[in-house]
């Protein structure tokens, strides 16, 4: 009893072909048909009749009238009917997701269509609700149980945070890889430039030796002359040098011990150095000043921590 109510197929009255069915084709009939050329050889499949179409509009209309809540106001029912954007006909610019372009299996387009429908009906509904004097926004101090509990919302938040973190890590990795690639390019360019210079120099020397030219100016020229098209690279080298220059300690030492100037007696004590026992660059051990410069590379644990961020 129960199964007949549940099942779909059993309830249809499907006319079946029986042996004693007068409509069924007999063998003889088939033979005649074959001989006369009506029947072509091949595999034949019996045609199954489609399920009967039932659409008893009269009964449906009657039932609809029966259950309709005609006496109730709109505020009791809160229903809004709107035309979906996907079904709108006279849209000025039918972009993707509107009209014929709409694809149900495209998740994004489909969800957008639902969202648009809900949005439109909310705008209509809100206006109607305000007219009826029904509150739509709860006051901030009105606390009540929510549909999703706090622990559920916490899970949602955690998921969002982890997603964001993953995205950030990905971006960081990508930029690092880019930097690496660029660094490699620079290095290659420098090596090529050096080789090019060397080759030029050797060629010039060869020419000179064979007596093809009697100019020796390449010796002056070569170190000054940069390889063609590597302006960017030299500028980077210069940058590095500039960076070195910025180190005041180095600059001072260069000044003191480096090229130029009188060397004699430069390492002797002076009045100032004698008074300055700790030395110019020795840090005061007892001072609480932040350590700068000496160890810019953070410790191992810190580095791994930064890497995982």
């Amino acid at each position: 009893m129960q199964d007949s109510n549940f099942a779909e197929e059993e309830e249809f009255h499907v006319p079946r072909l029986n042996d004693d069915d007068p409509d069924a084709d007999s063998d003889k009939e088939l033979q005649v048909a074959f001989q006369s050329g009506l029947l072509k050889p091949g595999i034949f499949r019996p045609i199954t009749a489609p399920p009967p179409r039932i659409n008893n509009e009269e009964a449906i209309r009657q039932k609809l009238d029966e259950i309709k809540q005609t006496k109730l106001d709109w505020v009791e029912r809160l229903d809004v009917t709107v035309v979906m954007a996907t079904n709108k006909e006279n849209v000025e610019e039918p972009g993707p997701g509107i009209g014929a372009e709409f694809d149900v299996h495209n998740d994004f387009q489909r969800e957008l269509a639902f969202y648009e429908q809900a949005k439109e009906s909310v705008i209509i509904g809100m206006r109607k609700l305000q007219e009826a004097g029904i509150k739509t926004k709860r006051p901030d101090d009105y606390f009540a149980e929510m549909a999703k509990k706090d622990d559920h919302m916490k899970k949602v938040r955690e998921k969002l945070v982890s997603l964001q973190r993953r995205r950030e890590a990905m971006e960081k990795n990508r930029s690092q890889q880019k930097m690496k690639k660029y660094g490699k390019q620079v290095q290659q360019a420098v090596v090529q430039e050096r080789q090019h210079k060397k080759k030029e120099m050797l060629n010039a020397v060869k020419k000179f030796r064979k007596g093809k030219s009697d100019k020796l100016d390449f010796l002056d020229k070569a170190p000054v002359k940069g390889g063609g098209g590597s302006k960017k690279k030299t500028s980077q080298l210069q940058q590095l040098q500039q960076q070195n220059k910025l180190n005041p300690k180095r600059a001072y030492r260069n000044k003191k011990y480096g090229q130029g100037g009188r060397k004699k007696g430069s390492k002797r004590n002076t009045k100032e150095s004698l008074n300055n026992v700790a030395g110019k660059f020795k840090r005061n051990v007892h001072s609480n000043k932040a350590k700068g410069g000496k160890n810019k590379r953070p410790g191992k644990s810190k580095r791994t921590k930064n890497k995982s961020k």
Partner: protein, 287 residues
């Protein structure tokens, strides 16, 4: 015993304090139920035995979102569907959402107006629970929803009937004792691809900014009956194919491929000649 008794020696100050407290209470009460609860819809939401876990969670979600719903223990599969009418009567419900599980994977939903009908049988697909979907939206547990329908519901008579049933079932009646006095979410019903798609959004801003809450599911109309859980069939959806049939056709298609391959092999072996050239066996001996 008199209902109100004047307390002797009540000072004016204390009196006013009491009054204030009472006022505060009444304010909250006023917010909750100012008017009269006219639209008395009560929905019984429950399932049959042998339902997949998703159906069970759907009941949980619906109970969460519908303050006017009641639930019942799972019904035995062997018992008659007409029994549901009696259960509804006992629980004084006039609407019923009954989920049926079949083969441990298919979910059907009966939506019925008890006791005089009509009732609709849907096939439920693409079922995602609130818990499973990590949406950021949230709403009050028992606030009233707006019900949004697409224009396609008006195009045919049976869809109008279904729309009416949806409004009466999913809409929370005004001034229902358990309901909250705000409207902060919207149920969306849209027809697309021959199915009814359900979505639930939170109304984040009054200008129509929405955040999805969940759950999500689609309903395919299988048939409509004139009575509650039975009687004559008023409508059969010609486009509806039962999942059994779909699976059967799929299997058959696959088996056709296999049968074809086997037939090709046997055909080839039948065409193969046993002897490719006429040779006399005795030729080797008498050379």
């Amino acid at each position: 015993m008199p209902r109100k008794r004047k307390l002797p020696g009540l000072t004016g100050n204390l009196k006013s304090k009491h009054l204030k407290l009472a006022e505060d209470n009444s304010k909250e009460e006023n917010l909750k139920s100012k008017g009269k609860w006219i639209n008395k819809q009560r929905v019984l939401v429950f399932t049959s035995r042998g339902i997949p876990y998703k159906g069970r969670h759907l009941v949980k979600d619906l109970m969460n979102l519908m303050p006017h719903a009641k639930t019942e223990v799972k019904m035995d599969r062997k018992s008659d569907l007409l029994l549901i009418n009696e259960i509804c009567e006992m629980r004084s419900c006039n609407k019923c959402l009954f989920l049926v599980g079949k083969k441990g994977r298919d979910v059907y939903m009966w939506l019925s107006n008890v006791p005089h009908g009509p009732s609709v049988m849907f096939y439920v697909e693409y079922l995602n629970m609130m818990e499973e979907l990590k949406f950021t939206g949230n709403c009050l547990k028992s606030s009233r929803p707006l019900l949004s329908f697409c224009q396609k519901f008006e195009e045919s008579l049976h869809m109008q009937l279904i729309k009416e049933l949806f409004i009466q079932t999913f809409g929370t009646p005004q001034y229902h004792p358990k309901s909250q006095p705000f409207v902060d979410h919207v149920f969306t019903f849209s027809i697309m691809d021959g199915k009814i798609w359900f979505r639930n959004y939170q109304i984040a801003e009054e200008n129509g900014e929405l955040v999805e809450i969940g759950p999500r599911f689609t309903l395919t109309v299988a048939r409509i009956f004139s009575g509650s859980f039975g009687r004559s069939v008023m409508y059969v959806n010609p486009d509806y194919k039962s999942p059994n049939l779909v699976r059967h056709l799929q299997r058959k298609e696959n088996s056709d491929k296999f049968v074809g391959k086997k037939a090709a092999i046997s055909d080839r072996s039948a065409r193969k000649l046993e002897k490719t050239f006429a040779v006399d066996d005795t030729d080797d001996i008498f050379r």
